[in-house]
Structures are given as structure tokens and as C-alpha cells.
């Protein structure tokens, strides 16, 4: 069903497209050898090239190109063997060259597509228009001094991938799911760390609204939104604003806006009339970027398994679609799960990882990259369940102890004597005691009160401090009561 926002004049549809700026994971910048690490002292990672000194020339960093190609392949997109850099000219204090080297007319990556999964399990394909490489600008700091602005050029020249989608999204949820999916793919590929709070991923959100059956109306661009939640909020806020404008009988003008996260509204940044004339032209300091098809093929062959493929593999292993989805959201989770599941029952492994393990992460505010229980130890716990050393409830006790102590499950079982009793004789002895102590109830049972069966099982387990093998206990109780 189409998502709509109800206005005074009836329902409105949303049309959304995203431009995602993703910082490329690389040791050095796109056109210089300067380092790219986040959080360094201001202006400590700046070469003369990044600072736009006279006579300095850009030299393309092959690793950044490889990362862009990997990303393109991961987005099922066309890799353009011939692409070109252009200059985007504008003046700003944190843009040392007075232009940004970008790819305007001939991007390295052409059309592609990704599939997103929504909360109700439905899937949708979102078109990718293009991906191009460009250099980042520096950072202006306006809050360091009363009358001066400070400039940090550490980021100047860092490689960015701009990933442009088709206007294929129709709801805040779809926009959120798309950004989540792109982030997931890039993190799987190792081409962008996706840390939105460090600014290594940010999105420009294009929004327009329309009545059912209409073509596109004028769109506005909400710039530099830096979290998935804010993207969803910005879509909603901007759509509501536009609906109000249209319904007031006015017109939405194409403009660039900013999302005020505190107030949950968008504000005008500059209108089309004030828009820069960027005077794009081919970058004469760089020859066209020509890729060998063999080189691209080698990158393709070396691509890691991507989330969709992994999810399909998990479903084939017998996991539910939901578990397969949840376990593949983050590559680290998938790797953790696979270590747990290796040589074991995948469904049992999935239950434990998505159940007790995720609950523990939440409770302890830990991350799968820094787990309170190692995947190896969790796997060991599953082995103890499989060989009937532990019952389900005992296993939960052991798991809690593992969280507390970080010890291996076998060690905990030994220390605490939590081993399950599978000795039929021992169980029979306990059952006999329980029956002797509850002779009246035995008589009731035997006269037809079947429901008391559970009582005898419970009493037996209690007497055994939970260590009795549940199946065996059932079996013995049934046999003994039958006389």
C-alpha cells in the first residue's frame, strides 16, 4: 500500500531520492599522500597539495579508485572503464584550491540497483543513478573565536564517493531502509566505515510531494543529514512543509534546506537564484581515468560475500527470513554467528545469537565487535546442549555465568556441578522418593487425574536442582506412575 500523508486536501504521496556522501577507507587522500585518520590534531594531515599551494598537482590514489570500483560492483552497478575528473569551481575559505575535483559528466560508476527490506518483510528495488569520486573540503570552525573563523584542512582532499539514487523511495521508512542498506553494503565491502557521527557518511535528501497519479512536482534538497533517524525525520518534516505550502495555494521553490534536528523542521539555506554557478570543466591536471577490464574482474573476484548473498545462504541453512535478515545487518554479527554455528545446528545457533546473546548485548550495552561472550565459548555451550550435558534451562544458567565470569562453559559446568543427570537409575530413585512423599497424589493420578503428571515432573526436577535431563525425567515419571 502506498504511504501517504493526509493533508487538508486529501492524501499526498512522497517522492524521495538520496545523495549519499561516503568517505572512502584509504590510508591516503584521493590526490595526495597525506594521511586520513579521524580525530588527528587540526592541520596535522595536510600536504601542500591539499593546501592548494602554487604549482602543486593532484595524483590519483589507485586504492581510492579500487574502493570506488568495489563499491560499484557491490551496488550491482555499471563500472565505467573510462571516466574523467572535472573541476567544480567556488570560493570558500576551507576549499584551498578554489575548486573541488569531482566527476561531473563522466562518473566512474553508472547505473545500479539495491534491494531494501521493509519492516513488514516486503522488498523493494531502489535504482542507483551513479557513483562518482570527489575530494572533500576542509572544515570551517566558526565557534572558536569571537571574530575569526578557524580552518582545519585535515579533511581537505580526503576521498568521497557520492552515491546518487533514483527518486524511487516513497516513505521515510524506505529512505531509512535504503540508507541502512547502502551503509551495510559499504561496511561489508570495507569501502566506508559508515560512521555517521564522525561524518564519514552523510546524506543529502531530495524530497517532493504529489497527488496520486501525478508526475513529479518541484523538489527541495535537505543537505548534510548525518543519521538514519534524522533522514527519516527530515523526509517527514520536509514533506509536511511542502504539503502546507501547496495547500496554502502557494508554490514550492527549488532550494537547498537544512534540517534543524532540535526543532525537527527544515530551514532554507539558499534558493535556486543564489545557487552557485560551479563552472564545471574537465580537470586538466589529470588525464582521463582508464581502467583495465582485467583489473576490474580481479577486484570482482576478490569481493567479499555481500549481505544479500549471505542472507540467502542463511535461509538455505534453514534459518527464518527474519533471523537471516537480523544476522546479516552487520557484518560483525554475521561473522560471529558463523563462528557459533560452525559444525553445529544453525537454527540452534541462530536462536541463541538472536535471543540470549542479543539480549545480553542490549542489557550490558556492548557491541558484537566487543562481545561479553566469545563466539567460540557460545559455540562450546551449544555443544554441551547437543551432547545432553546441559538442558535448555541449565544452559541459560551457564550462559549467565559466562557473562559474569567470561569463562568457558565447560569450566563453569565443572565448577558448579551443573551437569545434567542422564543416569536413569538416579532419576528413578528420585522419582520413587517423590511418589512416596505424595502417595495421595499418586492415587489421584491413577484414578484419572492426568494433569498431575506435570506436578511429578516439577517435583522431580526440583529435587534434582534442575539437573535432570528433562526427556528422561518425563520418561521415568510416566513409567513409574503407570506402575
Amino acid at each position: 500500500m502506498t504511504y501517504t500523508i493526509e493533508g487538508r486536501t486529501g492524501p499526498w504521496e512522497l517522492v524521495i531520492g538520496l545523495e549519499i556522501h561516503a568517505q572512502v577507507i584509504s590510508e591516503a587522500k584521493l590526490f595526495s599522500g597525506a594521511a586520513t585518520a579521524f580525530g588527528a590534531e587540526p592541520n596535522s594531515q595536510v600536504s601542500f597539495i591539499d593546501a592548494g599551494f602554487p604549482g602543486m598537482l593532484p595524483v590519483i590514489n589507485a586504492e581510492c579508485v579500487a574502493q570506488a570500483v568495489r563499491t560499484g560492483l557491490g551496488l550491482n552497478a555499471q563500472v565505467n572503464l573510462w571516466s574523467r575528473f572535472d573541476r567544480k569551481n567556488y570560493f570558500y575559505a576551507d576549499l584551498p584550491q578554489g575548486y573541488q575535483i569531482s566527476q561531473f559528466a563522466h562518473p566512474i560508476i553508472g547505473e545500479g540497483a539495491v534491494e531494501i527490506t521493509l519492516a513488514d518483510g516486503a522488498t523493494k528495488t531502489i535504482g542507483i543513478t551513479r557513483l562518482h569520486l570527489e575530494q572533500d573540503a576542509g572544515k570551517s570552525l566558526h565557534d572558536q573565536h569571537a571574530t575569526k573563523s578557524f580552518i582545519d584542512l585535515n579533511r581537505s582532499g580526503v576521498a568521497l564517493m557520492e552515491i546518487v539514487s533514483e527518486p524511487d523511495m516513497r516513505s521515510p521508512e524506505e529512505a531509512g531502509a535504503y540508507l541502512t542498506k547502502i551503509r551495510q553494503i559499504l561496511r561489508y565491502l570495507g569501502t566506508c566505515d559508515g560512521n555517521m557521527d564522525e561524518g564519514s557518511m552523510r546524506a543529502d535528501v531530495n524530497v517532493s510531494v504529489r497527488k496520486a497519479g501525478e508526475g513529479f512536482r518541484t523538489r527541495c534538497e535537505v543537505k548534510n543529514v548525518n543519521s538514519i533517524r534524522f533522514v527519516m525525520q527530515a523526509v517527514e518534516a520536509e514533506a509536511r512543509r511542502q504539503i502546507e505550502v501547496w495547500e496554502a495555494g502557494e508554490e514550492v521553490f527549488q532550494e537547498t534546506r537544512l534540517f534543524d534536528t532540535a526543532r525537527g523542521i527544515t530551514r532554507s539555506m539558499r534558493s535556486k537564484e543564489d545557487a552557485h554557478d560551479y563552472r564545471y570543466f574537465p580537470e586538466p591536471d589529470l588525464p582521463p581515468l582508464v581502467l583495465e577490464s582485467d583489473w576490474v574482474a580481479a577486484l570482482k573476484a576478490a569481493l567479499p560475500e555481500l549481505p544479500d548473498a549471505r542472507r540467502a545462504r542463511y535461509t538455505a541453512m534453514g534459518l527464518t527470513a527474519y533471523d537471516a535478515h537480523v544476522l546479516t545487518l552487520e557484518k560483525e554479527t554475521a561473522v560471529f554467528f558463523e563462528t557459533v554455528a560452525k559444525g553445529r545446528d544453525p537454527k540452534l545457533a541462530a536462536n541463541w545469537v538472536t535471543g540470549d546473546f542479543f539480549a545480553a548485548l542490549n542489557r550490558l550495552k556492548r557491541d558484537v565487535a566487543d562481545p561479553p561472550v566469545t563466539a567460540e565459548n557460545l559455540g562450546g555451550l551449544l555443544d554441551l546442549i547437543a551432547d545432553k550435558t546441559l538442558s535448555g534451562s541449565l544452559a541459560k544458567q551457564v550462559f549467565e555465568a559466562m557473562l559474569e565470569t567470561g569463562k568457558a562453559p565447560g569450566e563453569i559446568v565443572e565448577e558448579r556441578g551443573l551437569k545434567q543427570v542422564t543416569d536413569t537409575g538416579a532419576i528413578e530413585a528420585v522419582v520413587a522418593q517423590v511418589m512416596a512423599a505424595n502417595a495421595d497424589k499418586v492415587a489421584e493420578y491413577r484414578s484419572g487425574k492426568d494433569k498431575l503428571f506435570g506436578f511429578f515432573v516439577g517435583q522431580t526436577m526440583k529435587a534434582m536442582q534442575g539437573k535432570g535431563n528433562p526427556a528422561l525425567v518425563n520418561e521415568v515419571v510416566k513409567a513409574k506412575l503407570a506402575g
Binding site: 601542500f48 593546501a51 592548494g52 599551494f53 602554487p54 604549482g55 602543486m56 598537482l57 593532484p58 595524483v59 590519483i60 573541476r87 569551481n89 570560493f91 570558500y92 575559505a93 584551498p96 584550491q97 578554489g98 575548486y99 571574530t147 573563523s149 580552518i151 554557478d277 563552472r279 564545471y280 570543466f281 586538466p284 591536471d285 589529470l286 588525464p287
Partner: protein, 495 residues
């Protein structure tokens, strides 16, 4: 023989024989500079102490048996090449106090080969000009003067006017220069010396203040073709720091000078026969072709049908790139900054750039900004790029039939310092014979070949195939030998 009268080759021989030291050679040039530079203004900065120290170090290396290809040779460096620790102005107020912390690749290569730098040569501001009158350090005077009018001061041509004047006046044995539309060849012709713009990509542009990146190319000026060949050998070569530099071996250009022209086919583009061209230029051209025929070459008429569009094409492409290349001179990080208390960033840009750039630079930034603007891009820049491709193709077609092309270097001899200054288009016409080689990326050599009626030098130009400087040098040397050019400028060291 006065030490400043050596050719570069002659000085190398004398240094090898031990009849002169680099210190003596350098001191003689510094003396000449002290005497003549106040008038000629060929040097913006003279680094006398550094030069003598470098000469001394060179003599010591030579004594120790370490002899580079240019060991001990005093040179002038165009002030467009960044020199570590030595002020580099690009002829502009905006870089008036800029001291680069790095060395350009080309000047570093010269230092690595043992050269001694006398100082930084004057030039048109940001290499924009054909008369060396736009420099923030004032105009350069041509050491030559008209026989019948010795008091009229003449321009040395531009933009490498300081380099050419210094070499012609014996204030250096050779000099680095750069050529975007003719800035090596036109001043070389005006000053009666040789100069080659090599193939685009032959010399690294790293560390050279950019004017128009797709056209700029470094090259030498010197008093003989062979001296240019020796210098180019040291300057050229692949540089990983310049993505447009060519990863090709550097041939022995000096050896190529002696190849001769026997059997070569020399193209003579009919489109270069301009209406109203000075008769003595036409005559010199004819003479040059005859010399080549006499030396065993064959001359053939060729057609470069799009050459007539070269100048307008150049004056779109070059300013477009310049408008972008010069955006970095914004008063924020280095160079001049002009600001008022309480003013904003835009005001800082406007004041700094208005005060820092001269009129010609501002004109070209505005032209360049205009031709790249939305709505004009297709009609100007894109069209110019298409014409540029056609001009390149014209040459490719021509070189299917000929080995080199010979034309006049300039449409006239040097003119007076106050002539053509109020008409930019008349000034731009100076490049009419030279810009095609830049647009097509081809090597072009100017050779002094004769004198006009006033006794001023005139040059011929040899244009070659891409990366075939060897044939260009062979043809140039043949012209030089036949011309036997021996006239001397009035103002010169040792005179």
C-alpha cells in the same frame, strides 16, 4: 674571451679543461647582472651569495670527480618555477613575499645535474603576456635596439622576457622558461636566441605556478640550439608527481642536433602566409626553406585548415583554465592578504584579488569565468575544445606526409615598450604562429635566423611530431648553421 661570451657547451668544455672555474664563471655573470640588470630588469631576484656558494660546491665536486651534466653552469630560473627558500613571485604582487618550501621538479633536476642558479628571471604576471610589461616588478627591456632608433626601448617579448633578455645580454648561459601560447619561442625570437617548447608532458609541471594546465610546458632558452638540447636533456623526464608527464625515455637531444636534414620532408603550411605579413619575415621564411633544401631536405606545402581558429581557441581555453588555477590566490593561506577590520570573507577575497592581480590577469580571469559560465560554456569552452581537437588532427594529417614543419616564429621583430599596450588583441596576435603547437601539444623550437632592416633579430620556428624533439633539433641546428647568426645585442655583459 670574456667568460660571459661562452656558449653553454663552450663553458662545459672550459670547465672540463680547467681553464675556468664555476666560481669565476658565476662571478663574471654576477658582475654583468650588477652592471646591466638595473636597466634591463631581467632578474626579479638575484641570489648572488647562494650562487657563489653553489659554484664553490660545484668546483669541489668537480675536483672530487663528481661531474654532473651541467656541472658549474650558471643559469637563470624563470620566476614561475618554485625554488625552495628563494622567493617566487610569478611576476605578481599577490605572491610578492611568497617563499616556497619546495623545489619544482625541473629546477631540482637542474640542481641535481650541478647547475648554479644566479637568480629568478622576470616574466609577465602569471606568464600572461607577450611583452613582459605586465610584471609587478616592472617591464624587462630587450638588450637589442633598432639601428636607426637606438633610444627607443624595446620589449623582449613574453612571457619569458626576463629569461630571454638575460641570456641574450650574457647575464646567464641559459635559462628556464615556460610556454603556454608562445612564451618561450616569441621572446627567444625577439632576443635573437634559441628556445624550445618541448612536447606537452616532456617536462614535469610540478612546482611551476600554473597558468593554463593543458597548455603550459617548461623548456629552455639559450644562445644556441645545442645549448637548448643540453638543457632540455636535464630538465625533461617522467615525474610521478605530474599525472600529465610522459613516462618515456629522454633521448640524447644534443646528439640529435648533428643528425642533419638530408631526406627529411619539411612542411610549409599555406595558412601561415598571412595577408600583410612583413616582407622581411616572408623573405626570411623563404630563405630558411632554401637553406634546408640546400642541406638535402625536401620542402612541401601542407594545409592546416583549422589553424586560423587557433588564436581565438587559445584565448578561450587558456583564460578558462587560468580563471580556475588562479582561484587559490585568495589571501587565506599564503601570499598577499588585504582586509579591513570587521569585513567578511567575500570582502577579503575582493580586496586581496583586486590589489594582488594586475589588469591583464584580471582581464583573463574575467574572460575565463565568462566562457565557463552556465549558458556560455557550450558556445565557448566546449566549442573551443572541439576546434582544438580539429587543430590536433590537422597536424596528425600533416605528419603523415612530413617530418617537421617550418614557419616564422613571430609576425614581427621586437616592438617598443609603449607600443601595442592599449590593444590587447594586437598584443595577442604575437602568438599567431606559436599557439597551434600548444593547442596540439607539439614541440616547437625558435631559432635566430636573420635580422630585419633595423638590425633586430628574427626567428624561424620548427614544429615537430609529439615526442620527436630530436628531428626538431636536427632541423633547428641545420637552420642555425646555415644562418650563421652572429649579430650581438648592444647591451651585454663583457661588452
Amino acid at each position: 674571451m670574456h667568460p660571459t661570451d661562452f656558449t653553454l657547451r663552450g663553458a662545459l668544455d672550459a670547465l672540463t679543461e680547467g681553464t675556468i672555474s664555476s666560481v669565476e664563471l658565476t662571478q663574471a655573470h654576477l658582475d654583468g647582472i650588477a652592471k646591466l640588470n638595473p636597466r634591463l630588469n631581467a632578474y626579479v631576484t638575484v641570489t648572488a651569495e647562494k650562487a657563489l656558494a653553489a659554484a664553490k660546491a660545484s668546483d669541489e665536486r668537480r675536483a672530487a670527480g663528481q661531474v654532473g651534466a651541467l656541472e658549474g653552469i650558471p643559469l637563470a630560473i624563470k620566476d614561475l618555477f618554485c625554488t625552495a627558500g628563494t622567493r617566487t613571485t610569478a611576476g605578481s604582487r599577490i605572491l610578492d613575499s611568497f617563499v616556497p618550501p619546495y623545489e619544482s621538479t625541473v629546477s631540482q633536476k637542474l640542481l641535481d645535474d650541478g647547475a648554479v642558479f644566479l637568480g629568478k628571471a622576470n616574466l609577465d604576471e602569471f606568464a600572461m603576456g607577450s611583452s613582459n610589461t605586465t610584471s609587478a616588478s616592472g617591464p624587462v627591456e630587450n638588450p637589442w635596439s633598432r639601428a636607426n632608433d637606438p633610444d627607443t626601448r624595446l620589449v623582449p617579448g613574453g612571457s619569458s622576457g626576463g629569461s630571454a633578455a638575460a641570456v641574450a645580454a650574457r647575464l646567464a648561459l641559459g635559462a628556464t622558461a615556460t610556454d603556454t601560447g608562445g612564451s618561450i619561442r616569441q621572446p627567444a625570437a625577439f632576443c635573437g636566441i634559441a628556445g624550445i617548447k618541448p612536447t606537452y608532458g616532456r617536462c614535469s609541471r610540478f612546482g611551476i605556478v600554473a597558468f593554463a594546465s593543458s597548455l603550459d610546458q617548461a623548456g629552455p632558452v639559450a644562445r644556441t640550439v645545442e645549448d637548448c638540447a643540453i638543457l632540455l636533456k636535464s630538465m625533461a623526464g617522467f615525474d610521478p608527481k605530474d599525472s600529465t608527464s610522459a613516462d618515456l625515455p629522454v633521448p640524447d637531444f644534443a646528439r640529435a642536433c648533428e643528425r642533419g636534414v638530408k631526406g627529411l620532408r619539411i612542411g610549409v603550411p599555406k595558412e601561415y602566409r598571412l595577408d600583410g605579413m612583413a616582407p622581411e619575415i616572408v623573405a626570411l621564411w623563404e630563405q630558411g626553406l632554401q637553406w634546408l633544401r640546400d642541406a638535402g631536405a625536401e620542402t612541401v606545402e601542407i594545409s592546416l585548415p583549422h589553424a586560423k581558429y587557433a588564436l581565438p581557441t587559445y584565448y578561450i581555453v587558456a583564460p578558462a583554465e587560468a580563471s580556475s588555477n588562479l582561484a587559490r590566490y585568495d589571501g587565506v593561506r599564503f601570499g598577499m592578504r588585504v582586509t579591513e577590520p570587521g569585513s567578511d570573507l567575500r570582502d577579503l577575497y575582493e580586496r586581496t584579488r583586486a590589489a594582488g592581480f594586475g589588469a591583464e590577469v584580471r582581464r583573463r580571469i574575467m574572460i575565463g569565468t565568462y566562457v565557463l559560465s552556465a549558458g556560455y560554456y557550450d558556445a565557448y569552452y566546449l566549442k573551443a575544445q572541439k576546434v582544438r581537437a580539429l587543430i590536433r588532427r590537422d597536424f596528425e594529417n600533416a605528419y603523415a606526409d612530413v617530418d617537421a614543419i617550418v614557419t616564422p616564429a613571430t609576425p614581427s621583430a621586437a616592438f617598443g615598450m609603449d607600443e601595442k599596450q592599449d590593444d590587447p588583441v594586437a598584443m595577442y596576435l604575437n602568438d599567431i604562429f606559436t599557439v597551434t603547437a600548444n593547442l596540439a601539444g607539439l614541440p616547437g623550437l625558435a631559432v635566430p635566423a636573420g635580422l630585419d632592416a633595423q638590425g633586430l633579430p628574427l626567428g624561424l620556428q620548427v614544429i615537430g611530431r609529439a615526442f620527436d624533439e630530436e628531428t626538431v633539433f636536427a632541423v633547428g641546428r641545420a637552420l642555425e648553421r646555415a644562418a650563421g647568426f652572429s649579430a650581438l645585442p648592444r647591451l651585454r655583459a663583457g661588452a
